[in-house]
């Protein structure tokens, strides 16, 4: 703890040493009995655990995890549209800004919709990535996110750490009202699907909301109201 305690002479009682030792033993005993008779809280929602009886603060890691806050940068994912295709339009913004130069993109065109590009190849080398999040910031289409709340999983080979578009494209789909393919329609999307996507589309958010939360059960709003209450 980086704070200074007043450094003064010990008085006679403190120099007797034993009274203070006995008091200290008393404190430790209290702590022991408290944690001995009251078990650790096992609520899977670790943030809601009550520590008023047992003060055990351990979170048994592999089985229990602390939820990551919304700003946490985890493993990348390519955000899909409702029809399963990537939102990415292969504009190379992310590959350009990436300081580690670990994104490789090959652009292609949909045969049925020649005004729209898509990444034929989209490869991120997770071993070279410095997890700066610039790619997410740069993307004009909200097509790449680091909201999986995962660490890059360990592997036995380097090759397994190079993630291609097939592994990257996952997670809940996203649609915005100003998405061009929703506004003008697209031959590659069936009319019913288009209807559905338009119905689900939301305005583009300016602030982080609960939809950005990476961990189930983690609420930005609850966190904010808790901070306000204190």
């Amino acid at each position: 703890m980086p704070y200074q305690l007043p450094d003064s002479e010990l008085n006679l009682r403190e120099r007797l040493y034993f009274p203070e030792v006995i008091q200290g033993v008393g404190i430790i005993m209290k702590q022991f009995l408290r944690n001995f008779f009251f078990g650790r809280q096992k609520d899977p929602d670790v943030l809601a655990r009550d520590r008023s009886l047992s003060q055990n603060a351990t979170i048994a890691y592999p089985e229990e995890r602390v939820p990551y806050p919304p700003a946490y940068r985890g493993l990348h994912r390519l955000v899909p549209r409702e029809d399963g295709r990537p939102r990415c339009v292969a504009c190379y913004m992310c590959a350009t800004i990436c300081p580690a130069q670990c994104i490789y993109i090959e652009a292609g065109e949909y045969p049925d919709d020649p005004i729209e590009k898509y990444p034929v190849k989209f490869v991120i080398d997770e071993l070279r990535c410095v997890v700066c999040g610039f790619c997410v910031e740069a993307c004009p289409k909200d097509a790449i996110r680091m909201d999986t709340g995962e660490h890059a999983p360990p592997s036995y080979t380097r090759a397994a750490q190079v993630w291609d578009e097939k592994r990257l494209l996952r997670g809940p789909p996203v649609s915005y009202q100003n998405d061009p393919w929703l506004r003008r329609g697209s031959p590659s999307i069936s009319p019913e699907k288009l209807q559905e996507m338009r119905a689900r589309a939301k305005p583009f958010p300016l602030n982080a909301t609960d939809e950005y939360a990476q961990t189930p059960g983690f609420s930005v709003r609850a966190l904010a109201s808790e901070a306000k209450g204190k």
Partner: protein, 441 residues
């Protein structure tokens, strides 16, 4: 509410299981005695052998081994952690008890690396020299009172005590000083700078504290007029003013304090763990592999158990149940009363072991000059003064009531000084905020 009932249940179950344990030990000892006499052995031989096996091997070893786990698990509770829980049988970690087997397996199967420049004989001898004396100390501890038992119509008197020798306390001092050989030899024979430092520290510390250890018990010797532990325990059953049992705790509070501190230093555990000092010199056993280290390590815990037993015998009434003793004596059959006594003693031992672990996790390590200063400048004069004052008080009033009065005044004074409000240290507000941030993620 359920938790509260659980606490009460726990508080009842521990002494009760100890009583049943005592009953079982009495039964086995009486059986062994009967068997031995029917085979033609002289009286008390069978009981003595059964006592050696049951009390010294089974009880002390089991308690010491469990304390190695208890130390980890209980320290975890003190520090708001979980402690060892990864070895599970049927999904249950059972308080980490399975780590006992894992530890033993690990110790026994470790590669046996011996330092090439060691002094061969002494190197092998040292763990045994550390192990044996702490064990032997338990021989004079009276666990339960003598009681008549009838096996197959043959009446014998059995007591849960290995040897009731005249020089009981002198035996304790003598054997306790032997323990220093183990550590000193281990340090010397390993031919390592760190080990020899540990050994030298251990020997200087243990030899210093032996003085106050001995002097602290002189008061009790005078008060109970005996060196036999069994008689000292018996004498603690008398009542002062008709209601207060003459426990060493009431008669000799200062002696208890000095004895406990000195004995703590003898066990070489924190705050007196300079001979080990894991963070600086690792200690006299730094060169010992596998089970040889295990023996040195276990010797420490055996010392904890034995220290608890001797403290319980001399200062906390030994096998006297203290509470409801008269009622128990009248309403129980002699053998069951003896079992209750043994259970009371074992419970006291467990409580004192627990207390030692609590102290060990409360205090940080002393500096070496502080250790010697505490011994020679504080404990020794206090112990000497205690001897003189006790002697004078017993001379004035041989019925011990004056001694008891002075003891009570001492306890009250200590309680008042302890409870007196110590200075409140003002902790800056941002420190609280930082602590809260750590605790609440």
């Amino acid at each position: 509410m359920r938790r509260f009932l659980g606490m009460v249940l726990f508080a009842i179950c521990v002494p009760l299981s100890m009583v049943l344990l005592g009953r079982a030990v009495y039964w086995l000892v009486a059986g062994a005695e009967y068997l031995a006499t029917s085979l033609g052995a002289p009286p008390t031989y069978g009981a003595a052998i059964a006592n050696v096996i049951l009390l010294m091997l089974v009880f002390v070893m089991t308690t010491a081994a469990l304390l190695t786990i208890g130390e980890r698990k209980w320290s975890a509770m003190i520090q708001n952690r979980i402690g060892p829980n990864r070895i599970r049988v049927f999904g249950n970690s059972a308080g980490g008890i399975f780590f006992l087997a894992a530890d033993a397996l690990k110790m026994l199967t470790k590669e046996n690396i011996n330092p090439s420049q060691r002094s061969r004989v002494l190197y092998e001898l040292a763990p045994m020299a550390a192990f044996a004396p702490s064990f032997a100390l338990f021989a004079v501890v009276p666990v339960g009172p003598a009681v008549d038992s009838v096996v197959n119509g043959v009446r014998t008197t059995v007591a849960l005590q290995v040897a009731n020798i005249d020089a009981g306390l002198l035996f304790v001092f003598g054997i306790a000083s032997l323990a220093v050989y183990g550590t000193a030899l281990a340090g010397w024979a390993s031919n390592s700078k760190l080990a020899i430092l540990g050994g030298v520290r251990a020997s200087s510390q243990m030899i210093s504290y032996e003085v106050s250890l001995g002097l602290a018990l002189v008061g009790s010797m005078m008060a109970y007029q005996s060196l036999r532990l069994e008689e000292m325990v018996r004498a603690q059953g008398q009542l002062l003013w008709g209601f207060l049992p003459a426990l060493g705790f009431f008669l000799q509070p200062v002696g208890l304090l000095v004895f406990f501190v000195s004995a703590f230093a003898e066990t070489k555990r924190t705050p007196f763990d300079l001979p080990e000092g894991e963070s600086e010199i690792v200690g006299y056993f730094v060169e010992y592999p596998g089970m040889k280290f295990g023996m040195l390590f276990l010797a420490e815990f055996i010392e904890v158990v034995v220290l608890a037993a001797i403290t319980a015998a001399i200062f906390f009434g030994g096998w006297h149940p203290v509470l409801f003793e008269g009622w128990l004596r009248e309403n129980l059959s002699p053998i069951w009363f003896a079992s209750v006594c043994a259970g009371a003693f074992l419970t006291k031992v467990l409580l004192l072991c627990w207390l030692q672990l609590i102290v060990r996790w409360t205090l940080p390590r002393f500096r070496f000059d502080q250790i010697q200063k505490l011994c020679w400048k504080v404990l020794l004069p206090v112990a000497l003064a205690n001897v003189f004052i006790t002697g004078a008080l017993i001379l004035v009033d041989p019925s011990l009531e004056l001694l008891g009065l002075v003891g009570l005044v001492e306890i009250a004074a200590m309680a008042v000084i302890t409870a007196a409000v110590s200075r409140k240290v003002e902790v800056p507000a941002h420190a609280h905020a930082a602590a809260a941030a750590v605790a609440g993620h």
